[in-house]
Symmetry: C2
């Protein structure tokens, strides 16, 4: 079981080397992140785009990296198509967004014929590490699904549980978060959670221990569960934190990063390979951790 990002990096280095495909890779910070991942022993990269620009960027950022290959395809749409072809052919095992905008990339990934569909909804998982918590936290979904329906929530849980499996957590503890523990018809998520638990009882939604609605204090603290007299199997040992809607996840994870020194990284999962979506405001550590998460999965 991988409990820290250091353990993640070690596990990735001990696995067969993966290859990352990046369509429209003509960006300094993109090439720099790929070079850093190569140097850290995480993965090789195929940079797809304008060959002259990419060669110049490789000179600037990745001079000593023989694991960074360039494929010439200056047209943005064809660059995405080429990346997906490489992945379907097994020549690359993970996908990273370059200059393509996110909706365009995801649309191509979801194409029924040429994409990487699995039948599941795509969802974002943020992985957060903090000294105060004994394991990695998987938060979902702060990036893709705005106000999930019941079916989307089910896929969010499946995607995150599969992710936990890649980190060595075979049966993750899933906290279906709300502001309180009671079913409240005015809080749609609590009705969805009730349905999810019932479905899970009949046919497991995923190999996981699922509880909800559960408040954040109980998910994080066995002591809080005891005081509130809530009989929880996951209090203080939750692995997956499912939020009612996008802003709860996005705000909480960013608060932990910016106020509490949390180390974080993220991936879009639910496709045949994970998708790394880096933001310009991600620091170098976040970029490297996100690529490493892709490599442990891919």
């Amino acid at each position: 079981m991988i409990c820290t990002f250091d353990q993640l990096f070690e596990a990735v280095r001990n696995r067969p080397r993966r290859t990352l495909a990046v369509p429209s890779a003509e960006g300094g910070s993109i090439v720099a992140a790929c070079a850093e991942a190569y140097r850290a022993g995480i993965c090789d990269t195929i940079l797809i785009g304008d060959p002259a620009k990419l060669d110049a960027l490789r000179q600037a950022h990745a001079r000593d990296c023989d694991g960074l290959r360039v494929e010439a395809e200056p047209d943005p749409d064809r660059a995405v198509a080429r990346a997906l072809t490489l992945i379907r052919a097994g020549e690359a095992n993970l996908l990273m967004k370059g200059k393509t905008d996110t909706p365009t990339l995801l649309k191509a990934v979801l194409d029924a014929d040429t994409g990487l569909r699995t039948g599941r909804v795509l969802s974002h998982v943020a992985v957060v590490a903090m000294p105060a918590y004994p394991r990695l936290m998987l938060w979902t979904d702060g990036g893709i699904n705005i106000r999930p329906t019941l079916d989307v929530r089910l896929d969010m849980i499946r995607n995150a549980a599969e992710f936990a499996g890649k980190l060595g957590v075979a049966v993750p503890n899933v906290a279906l978060l709300s502001a309180m523990e009671k079913i409240n018809p005015k809080m749609e998520e609590t009705l969805d959670y009730e349905r999810i638990l019932k479905l899970h009882q009949d046919t497991p939604v995923a190999p996981a221990t699922i509880e909800g609605p559960i408040a954040m204090d109980v998910a994080l603290s066995a002591e809080s569960a005891r005081i509130k007299e809530i009989d929880s199997r996951i209090a203080g040992v939750a692995d997956i934190f499912v939020t009612p809607e996008i802003s709860a996840c996005n705000i909480a994870v960013k608060a932990l990063i910016y106020l509490a020194g949390a180390q974080a990284a993220g991936l879009v999962v639910g496709a045949r390979v994970p998708i790394v979506l880096l933001s310009r405001s991600d620091d170098a550590g976040t970029k490297l951790r996100s690529i490493a998460l892709g490599a442990i999965w891919g």
Copy 2:
């Protein structure tokens, strides 16, 4: 400007002493918290309820506290009515929930004839202090308003801005949080935020600098705003964090408390006096800080 809870305690001690009214106060942790507040020089208390039980609790928890008075009113509804009468008469300046359940207490507070209405919606404000942030953060609303309408959001801002004023922040910086900076019709809050900014431009909603939709990283970090090329006057110096709905606030604040050692406290505001709602799972420090917040306001 009060930037820490230590400064809050000092400011409270230097003000005329306040009196807290607690209907149905027959609870060990309730009486203990009031005794602690008395000893800390924060306020006196009128405990309303069954006199025999209250005398026994006072013996057990508040033997040396001459600032804890008992009023005999064993009937729970009449105890609430009595507390409101004391407040309307100026004999008490703040209200704390005892054993009354929250909806019953708030309904009495909102009664048009006998309550403490101001015309504004009630809202919850959590005040959070962390070494990593240079000022107190006011988070709203993680306790009362589930999915606020535009009008409720306006009152949430007014209530929190008034609260900031009590803490010496005359023109607070208000971050209307979302998962991203763009207006997105699929995210109702962003449409509300657009309306709020427009209204605020014509007639100030409150004495405040308001921005939104703003993502949490930008609200917390001028550096993040710079990288994302967002021209913000409040990045890194936000005072008030308005979340789209209840769970975002509740989850984020609890994550900071349980994972990052944040000191927190909370109040219900919008009535003529603030209302302290303590939870059994609040530790002694949280209870004392919440009463002190009430005393600086009341």
